[in-house]
Symmetry: C2
Subunit: 147 residues, 2 copies
Amino acid sequence: MGVKDYGRGMRIGELAERAGTTTRTLRYYESRGLLQAGRAENGYRTYEESDLRLIQQIRTLQDFGFDLEETRPFVDCLRAGHPAGDACPASLAVYRRKLGELDALIGQLQSVRTEVGAQLARAELEASAELPGGPEPRCELNWEDDE
Amino acid sequence: MGVKDYGRGMRIGELAERAGTTTRTLRYYESRGLLQAGRAENGYRTYEESDLRLIQQIRTLQDFGFDLEETRPFVDCLRAGHPAGDACPASLAVYRRKLGELDALIGQLQSVRTEVGAQLARAELEASAELPGGPEPRCELNWEDDE
DNA sequence: CCTTGCCTTGACGTGGGCGTCAAGGATTAC
DNA sequence: GTAATCCTTGACGCCCACGTCAAGGCAAGG
């Protein structure tokens, strides 16, 4: 049989596949201290079902744009036995901080959007104002003494 | 005199200072083909006043979140003799593409913001619902057979 | 002459989240 | 027996816009 015993003592490849990620990613998480694996006699990492939830939590937050460090409280919370990663105050704090960052970022992007939009409009105006009958800019080298 | 002749044939340090950037950055721009410098007899790079405008254009766009490649049309436009970097169609195209990217990004961030906000609200509710008199989650290892 | 301060090229470091070999051991299928 | 597939650790690559250090050349002041 190719697969031994789902539900207990998965190996890294199985867990990665079930989580929709890669073994490299799981080892990376482990190197960051987010994931802890047991070891089989032969040195292979072993995982429990609960680890699948950890990974799903991490990836959900990653999809939201959280960086790995920010997922740590959620992971710790799950490992502490809470049914949800955001059941702990530290996780809520991360949520709130993230909301603030998002609001700030969105605001900045909106102002940039406005600014770029204005630049575009102005440039289009100037372009259309020069075409009709004005003297087309020669594009020569004679404007360096312009100022 | 420490400074030779402002206005003609600046050296890289002077240009960097006047542009509010570093010599490293200017050499980097040159390596990317965005900036071209003349050379003095001793091998030093020499710049004209017009180069200052190029750099200002680049940095303005960078501040908007344009990456270096996206500034190229503007730079080319300025070097072609146009008084503004966005006087060329290629620059306008970059503006428009950027607007689209900004709109998409802002939209994504807003939906993430909504989602995170909802998660926070839900988690806060559940937290407040458990405190009053409910059984505090034991945080033991007995929930792994939950599913 | 010597110091100071500018300039030159070259090359490695940064950060984040992995991808992608490389070299080898373990297990399984045939 | 052996090929295929898993696993292990280690280490370099990537992207981008530079920062930073190294080793040395050139110019000017005292």
